[in-house]
Amino acid sequence: MKTSLILLNLLLATPVVAEEIWVTNEKDDTISVIDVATLEVTRTIPTGERPRGITFSHDFSRVYICASDSDAVQVMDPNTGEILNDLPSGEDPEQFVLHPDDRHLYIANEDDAVTTVVDVETRQVVAQINVGIEPEGMAVSPDGSTVIATSETTNMAHWINTETNEIFANTLVESRPRHAEFTHDGAALWVSSEIGGTISVFDTQTQAELADITFEVQGVHPDRVQPVGFEFTEDGKTVFVALGPSNHVAVVNAETYEVEDYILVGRRVWHMAFSADKSLLFTTNGVSGDVTVIDVARREAVKSIKVGRFPWGAALRP
């Protein structure tokens, strides 16, 4: 009786998908899927040309991929790896952000100096907003009212009102802004500048600059310290910052803006993603072609996992 009950339970149970980190490989036109439990690549999925930005829909039933050289945002079924459809993304989409309404994608079109807003359900372009030259970093405020686009050449963060799809403010940042994120409470915006080597923090209400964070890695020339991707911990008190060709990830105190630690990872670290319980952080190391796993509590690199050539973006599938 007991055995048959167990068997019945097994039959009725929905298949449990292991927690995974999806990594886009820019030069291989693939996605490497890493199992968080075993820290091994379980499968490799082909994509369009030069996949970079990657994000999941809120229910994780679809994954959006910026296939930059295919000039498309691809929509993939994460269960089968099948491309469901392409979204009209405009030219050379590099990064994007999914609005909290789970319906609108804000896409940075690097070559066209525009931000394209796409409705993922109707697959229609809702708006195209002129921004600075070479837009890249995209962020959306937690309440969905504001979207940020950073332009690499104009060196600005453009503040876009999502109701009117118009820019309502521009703030100057250091040279070549690459990535932007709002704090969890939406009170501040953080923008990393690759060439400037800094992270600028702005007040969301006034757009006034609150702080400018600089980095200094022992034994590494300052030119090689190039902040790109960064992520907040769940409590919002700590920020992990990828420092590009310095091959280090900085640990920043989000309250005092002080750099507390540097962690050695692979070469040219770019973006990162947390595991579901936020205990592990996965960084994409472009030049060394691997993903370094960081133990968040101990602030130590525990393993580097070989993936495809030039891993770029990373996203969690819990």
Binding site: Q218, L264, S288, T292, A301, V302, S304
Partner: protein
Amino acid sequence: MTPALIALRAIVIREALRFVRQRGRFISALVRPLIWLLVFAAGFRAALGLSISPPYQTYITYEVYILPGLCGMILLFNGMQSSLSLVYDREMGSMRLLLTSPLPRWWLLTCRLIASTVISILQVYCFLAIAALFGIHLPLAGYILVLPALVVAGLMLGALGLALSSLIKQLENFAGVMNFVIFPMFFLSSALYPLWKMAESSRVLHDICAVNPFTHAVELIRFALYTQFNPMAALWTILAGGVFLMLALWGYDPARGMIRRKA
């Protein structure tokens, strides 16, 4: 207590006393690897791009890489140091006193070997503690699991020292040991650079490094520090230790060895 154990205890205590009294020797034994760790490794930190090779699972700094090699260095120098003190004992006559004991000669020599290994291991742990103070941490279990690796490596290098001491006629010849044994053994090993790095510049040098027993002693320690076992390195180290011990026993055999020839 059996006479054999009494002898072992006496010899270990004698070595320990000698070690404690020569505080300069203790400090210098620690200063040497610490200079390598804190000065040499700092200079090379950025110069040597290390890729991942077992037992490491991710990228490491050069300090982390050479730590096991420097543990090996302590064992190597101590092995040689004890061979120096054996030569000294022989010149001073206390060696003759020891060897006239009714106990078998191989046991007396083995006691000497164990005594010097115990001292070496104490120094290695002091060194690891200081390294930890400077922020070079290892897995906690590694500090315990490295003990058998240190014993095997220490005995092997100590046996080498014994074998060499049977060859050295006078104290002055010890400089030769430094030049012809310690330096080549240390530099032609994986202590300072991984073997694949060596292969990039010279295949011959790589092959020499690969057969050097010191390389295997260092790798045994390296893997043990990261809670892993390297069977190949263990086999080589034990084998080399056995050969060196045989040579030492032969060297100290009054009927056949070098002692007779010298007399």
